[in-house]
Symmetry: C2
Subunit: 548 residues, 2 copies
Amino acid sequence: MIAFHERDLRRSVAQLLVVRASGHAFDSQRQFPKWELSNYELQQLLEEDVGGVILYGGTTIELQKRIEKIRSWTKQPIFLCADVEEGLGQRFQGGTWLVPPLAVGQIYKNQPAKAISLAESYGNCIGVQARECGLNWVLAPVCDVNSNPKNPVINLRAWGEDPLTVAVLICAFNKGLSKQGVLTCAKHFPGHGDTSVDSHLELPIIHHDLNRLKELELLPFKEVISSGVDTVMTAHVLFPNIDSNAPATLSAEILTKLLRQEIGFDGLLVTDALVMDAIRNTYGDDEAVVMAFAAGADLLMMPANPKKAIDAICTALLSGRIPMQRLEEALQRRKNALAKVYVSDSTNFETEEKLDHYLIERKEDKCLAEELLLSSTTIRHQVIPGNIKMDINLVRIDCLFPCQFLNNYSPALCMPEEAGYKTTVCHQMGVSPWQNDAENPLALERFGEGSFLLQLFIRGNPFRGSFFNQEPWLATILQLQRLNRLSGLILYGTPYFWNDINQLLDNSIPFAYSPGQMNDAQKHVLISFLQKHQDREMKPKQFSEFTD
Amino acid sequence: MIAFHERDLRRSVAQLLVVRASGHAFDSQRQFPKWELSNYELQQLLEEDVGGVILYGGTTIELQKRIEKIRSWTKQPIFLCADVEEGLGQRFQGGTWLVPPLAVGQIYKNQPAKAISLAESYGNCIGVQARECGLNWVLAPVCDVNSNPKNPVINLRAWGEDPLTVAVLICAFNKGLSKQGVLTCAKHFPGHGDTSVDSHLELPIIHHDLNRLKELELLPFKEVISSGVDTVMTAHVLFPNIDSNAPATLSAEILTKLLRQEIGFDGLLVTDALVMDAIRNTYGDDEAVVMAFAAGADLLMMPANPKKAIDAICTALLSGRIPMQRLEEALQRRKNALAKVYVSDSTNFETEEKLDHYLIERKEDKCLAEELLLSSTTIRHQVIPGNIKMDINLVRIDCLFPCQFLNNYSPALCMPEEAGYKTTVCHQMGVSPWQNDAENPLALERFGEGSFLLQLFIRGNPFRGSFFNQEPWLATILQLQRLNRLSGLILYGTPYFWNDINQLLDNSIPFAYSPGQMNDAQKHVLISFLQKHQDREMKPKQFSEFTD
């Protein structure tokens, strides 16, 4: 009898796990095979009642088929979630890719009503497209206040730099998203905005006490909880003045006392990814899972080893280290959350009939994407002067494999080439463009003649740590200015680096900034930059090819 | 009445066109928007009875959906074809990607029976997977004899370097392929093997006369035609000693007199892509289409402007320049060919029931891919000696966007990195690795300390022309050898460059050659190269992730 009970217990505990898989169909297509289960492993875990899958990568068409397949591998309702913060197209090709939320926060400064309306449409756009692909849980909004410009991991993902902006915008976003019948998620509790290290690599520490948190970080969470967010995700951040022993994800003080008891959140509480090094390095895989569950988390996201995680929690429950009541309440909350979206499955949403399932992106989604782009882009001077034939289009990116925003038809590459430029792409794996000279860091002889159009793609990227800080782009700008070889500069990404550039860039140099990095952002800026120059033989027909 | 007739004529002529589209679902995903119709254009043309679509790119899952959609846009049976010469995975992710045909030709030298059996399996593998995705016409086998090692465009795509090898292997291939209920295509008539310029860029000229052609080039075509190939594709090659006025694609002498009358081929004859510069630059878009049709081609592949192509042919027919009989016979051959595969649609093939439609790749396909890889790879010395910590993994590729065989989990990048190497990827768009010194072309200070593992991905690539010839890799090998900084060399691609390297490489230097460039080829070589070195902390578990 005990063996039988244990099997039941394992199946119940398994329901609390959310495991990671690729949105692609085949194992060989996985972008991150270290983290993404093979189909064999995934099917096996689902047969053992693992309760959710988080998906990354692939196209919307593939995702629909993929989710059909995953559903066929399980007997129970499960969570099908994705980390979609900037439009479905951020993770799945064919969906709409919107400029990052911080751009909406900037709009709020001058046009609050417009920003609120955009935030609601932003949520709506994600919700419709996610549901259409078969997802039932979107891991957004980010509720962190990006009070620290050096934040390498939140940065543009935040909705603002002050608690009121964030609170207002995430509530609007959450309203738009949850109307579409998918679950929403407020993250990363109790706040990840004031960190300067990447929790994917090491554990960030925030020394604020509870009073400060209540004044700032907690405000957006309280607002969105009271306005009805479905789930909350924990932060892998240590708050030694609140709990010196454990980071938020593993802290009963923060999860149970603060979030449950003081704030009164009674929905589903999920950890951030437990494979992140901030947690693994300090606590070990199995202990982290047990601590998180004991501390009050209901769902365990991406445990390093799902089967061992189930074992460890079962052991803790059977030994009495964790009361069975924890399991019961977590399962009940899981059931309640799923009931919402599994009811929704059979509901006909207003937009349903109008959609061609083949085309995930609606007309209004395209309009929203364009409006956000236009509202958030700054362009100074429309035309690049100078000699064209010998000019250099220097494109700086973080990462080559994969690079989501560059492909062979990207405007950042094609449009300057059509205008006579020669493109060089600098990336972490390329031949170095640098020489050992602090004043003149760019090794010019590696590029040939002509002046430079610099296109810098720079934003806080999880897992990249401070890699960007090692590249002397500011000194390069000064170097090229001194030599009169800087014909234009475009920054796609973080507004904080834009501020740095602004302080040293000559007024005469054409400059543009866009928070978005996608093809549409490139096209929008480069049309202004290149189109009107009379010496240039532009071929507008070529550009129209970038439009759908 | 004439207006009505003209509309009917337009619809009939439209059936002779094959237009190009992306295998991806959405316009924004097109890899080559200049050549790939938008969905709007494609739907419109199909409604006007355009008779076929050639597809490039996407995944097998997407392709299935894509073809469903395309079929819904037309009222008639149409050709759904792809340029799949090296396994479906060459064009569509998720399919099997096999080493190029020339590798089978090499096996034939010592093991003819094995090579013939492999060639039949090769065809079978493509046929099953193509049909499973909804394709009904595979544009293979290449029947050209690669008698010219400098051939930039056929090269590894050929089945051999002599007519008998090619004839035997393509017949076996054609047998395997056509058994699966898809149409096959012998190309490029009357032979493209002895060219040294890329017909995608300029018109190749071959000065052989008819006697030489009969002795060599025509032999494989005759064999495969008599053994039952469904269609033949023309070559964009000028043979001035046969027809001094027009290249094969536009030559009645070659298409009608030689192929139809002398050789007696009565199947469907299709042009090579009419957008290729070899044709466009000399004859103009509309005239080329009319000339090809007049000369005897039944189907017109990828005309630059489909609507204008229809107009031009209608005009030629109505004016009497081309007799109506040409249209009737072309339509009849089209109908006959389609009848074969549209009957097949309802036939249950032997393998049908066994296939999980989600998984295109069967177990036997994987075995075939592995056997071909093992049979075609040469590895000299299993282990790279030397200091690891500071070593450089220098990977040379042609093209970055897109690069089909490199991604963030590619063994060529990951395996040396796991073993302590630092990777630099050299590509056409990168910072130059070269300095102006013929004896010492590699600018070593751009790479840092340590010795080099050179991984060169080099093969004849359409559209690349002679780009590779400008890179001094042979001098670099000598340079690194002199400095004792060459720790190993791997060539993925053309056997001809392998011969060049062999003549100057020290015997002591570990060396490997694989005709395949795909991840599996990289993994196979690098396991031998790296695994057995004792100083290296290898993590075999990591490698197993590359296996499905």
